[in-house]
Symmetry: C2
Subunit: 497 residues, 2 copies
Amino acid sequence: MTALWTLSLLLSASLLGCLAETSPDGSPLPHNLPPSLGTNSSDGSLSVDLPMALRVFSMDYHHVQAPFEIVLWIMLASLAKLGFHWSGRVPAVVPESCVLIMVGLLVGGVIYGVRHSAPPTLSADAFFLFLLPPIVLDAGYFLPGRLFFENLGTILWYAVLGTLWNVLGIGLSLYGVCLLAQSSLGDVSLLHCLLFGSLIAAVDPVAVLSVFQEMQVNEQLHILVFGESLLNDAVTVVLYKLFESFLRLPSVSGLDVLLGGCRVVVVGIGGLCVGLFFGLLAALTSRFTSRAQVIAPLFVFLYSYLSYLTSEMLHLSGIMAIVTCAATMKQYVEANVSERSNTSIQYFLKMWSSVSETLIFIFLGVSTIQDIHMWSWPFVCSTLLLCLIWRATGVLLLTAFVNKLRRNAVTFRDQFIIAYGGLRGAICFSLVFLIDDFPKKRLFITTTIVVILFTVFVQGMTIKPLVELLYVKRKKRALPTLSEEIHSRVRDYRNHS
Amino acid sequence: MTALWTLSLLLSASLLGCLAETSPDGSPLPHNLPPSLGTNSSDGSLSVDLPMALRVFSMDYHHVQAPFEIVLWIMLASLAKLGFHWSGRVPAVVPESCVLIMVGLLVGGVIYGVRHSAPPTLSADAFFLFLLPPIVLDAGYFLPGRLFFENLGTILWYAVLGTLWNVLGIGLSLYGVCLLAQSSLGDVSLLHCLLFGSLIAAVDPVAVLSVFQEMQVNEQLHILVFGESLLNDAVTVVLYKLFESFLRLPSVSGLDVLLGGCRVVVVGIGGLCVGLFFGLLAALTSRFTSRAQVIAPLFVFLYSYLSYLTSEMLHLSGIMAIVTCAATMKQYVEANVSERSNTSIQYFLKMWSSVSETLIFIFLGVSTIQDIHMWSWPFVCSTLLLCLIWRATGVLLLTAFVNKLRRNAVTFRDQFIIAYGGLRGAICFSLVFLIDDFPKKRLFITTTIVVILFTVFVQGMTIKPLVELLYVKRKKRALPTLSEEIHSRVRDYRNHS
């Protein structure tokens, strides 16, 4: 087990060393070619490298750089995951996300040491276009439909009102803090505070999933926390964009605020419609795959991704779209497609989402090693405190209302876990980098990283003991019996032949 | 069935229409934003679109353009494949590759009509880095090892000597043709003819696989044709690069020719070693995946692709590397990994390679619609004729030698199929675009396209009736019995629980 860890770390260190050596700033390598030949490589794959005398052996890193580095990062992520699960005791104590962030910190440190400059950060495009969709698709495809719709009212209650409560609460009280610490934080306006509040209030589905999956609390509590983290995306992202556009406007009128309210609804409902459309299209297409079974799984991925991209293009909620799309198509696809295809779809969704998740946490660690940090004790500490306070009071208040309408009330223990399980993650991180430059942007970035690390490490590591302490009802595990399993396979075989 | 075709064509036409409208030359869209806001989108995903007054609804195509268009192309390819297999009679008469090229021609025509400019061509980078590896990986992973090594001598004989014979034969006699037609082809040098010969002689594994898989000839004939098409890559690509570098040198010495000979060996053996290294590493890693089964399949893809990229980086034969890597790891991976993982690996390899193949043929069709064609009857016709003649004589001559050493001789019928099944495809096509500009480059491109279309359409469509006419021994099909299938699944279940 330690052998594997060592192997993985050695490999990654050497790989990254080579990477850092060969591309110090991501620019094409100089090789030792005359520039006239070097530039040739941009239009073709094979035409570089033979200068004035013929060489038997030559090398061209620039040609394969992009896919090579992506594969190396994925390899590092996979090896880290493998090492984590292979080591016997670590998984029992520390959640995977923490270990991965620590691996990221280590790798970032190595890169910083070798290069003497900051390692690459997780770009918002890479995150929103490539890393987030597989995770949300996986979540949507395996969403327990009945349970979700039974609790939809409560989930929406938390997701919409709870998020508004958090954003406004954190934003306004942070502005108060800035007014009190006038000397150092005087240049942070109310709108900046609200903007920051909207991104720091975003509960992250990736972080929540990763911690709650390992814990296995009862299903209802799980769907409440997870459902909220999925659906609050529409609200936080819209509020974020709203405040951002307010910052750009010369003045904010009442009409603008009203339009902003409309936008929240449009973004949510629009994402839902796009997802529904592509989900039904996928269900229809799956009817025709019986003679080309080999590409049947592909349509699940293609249509879902298309729904996500279309929503992003139209500035609707991509997360809503892909979850709806996956949930809509699921039962039709499962019925229309062979059992082997179903196995492959499920396996692949799980594989992809787990790699994405691993990459996100590693990159969170890597991106923490930066030159651009800016520190302010009052701002950082009060943000941390305010996040906790506003989330706790919000959950308590909203549950008091919602319990009057529910048959089975949300217990006080459940409320504590909901409030404490509101982890922040890569969504805040990506959003904070997108803020237009202003003097305190670096402080915002530092504070966001501190909040993420605090929630993932402190809350993520203590939530499991706390659940045990509070004796929250655990999920009952049900394994299929042998006869069930074989039965379903014989049925499948008959369908085939 | 026709409904599906219509749906697919309508969808693709409308999608491509939108595509052509929104990005006339692949450049970012102007939207109707002031440029200061428009340029903002390059550093972030969410920061565009809200100009001076708040909008409830907005759109940003540029942000998602790259993944969106890739997904659309894959979707078009998948739908075309689905339509082909759904239509009852077409697959019996026309090979899939022909139908796909025709779909490509149609789509290319539509794009040309809408845009009034040539559609995008298949870039050599996209082909060599992304489309070719999955196909060769699939071929290598499912390579029948015993059969391959039993026939390795014959395969190498065809692949090395046969290719040399073809390249030199076609190159030299084409130079003769150019000398005869001095008035129109006088500016084509001997080296240019040899360069062209080296790329036009490359038998294409993708085209060969696609035609021979549908035909199901006996296994030995299949491995001879397919093995040759895999291994001749090292020879053709090296010869191509050699002549290309000779063209750049001020003068060619005897030493250069000698070094060139060494390079052929280095490229082949080097690719083999790289593949072996990564294959063993993958076999080792698969031993540790038992506690993280969900990412086990990933390592098959990662290590194989890494072996391919490493070889390409070092200018070794990527095809040799990936085939060796896959063949080396296969038995270890299959033994170390659960049956569900194995199913997913196999399914995914097949899915990926079949999509790549489909995309390649569609793009061959699309890229044929060009503004840059140049026609010359003597050059095109003599190339076609010379390709056929030199391949036929080469196979006859080499088989005469090889039959003296083999236990079971290659029959005359088999020889005919080997010679006739030497289809050209996307490898030639990608290589011809990489030639440094010179006055007759456009003629080379046109001729290559004609040769590819001729081999795929005429030879590809007539080879099946010819096989039946010549009564070549067919492969015996063996389906697993019900008890075998269930048995293996029960065993798998026991391993799991």
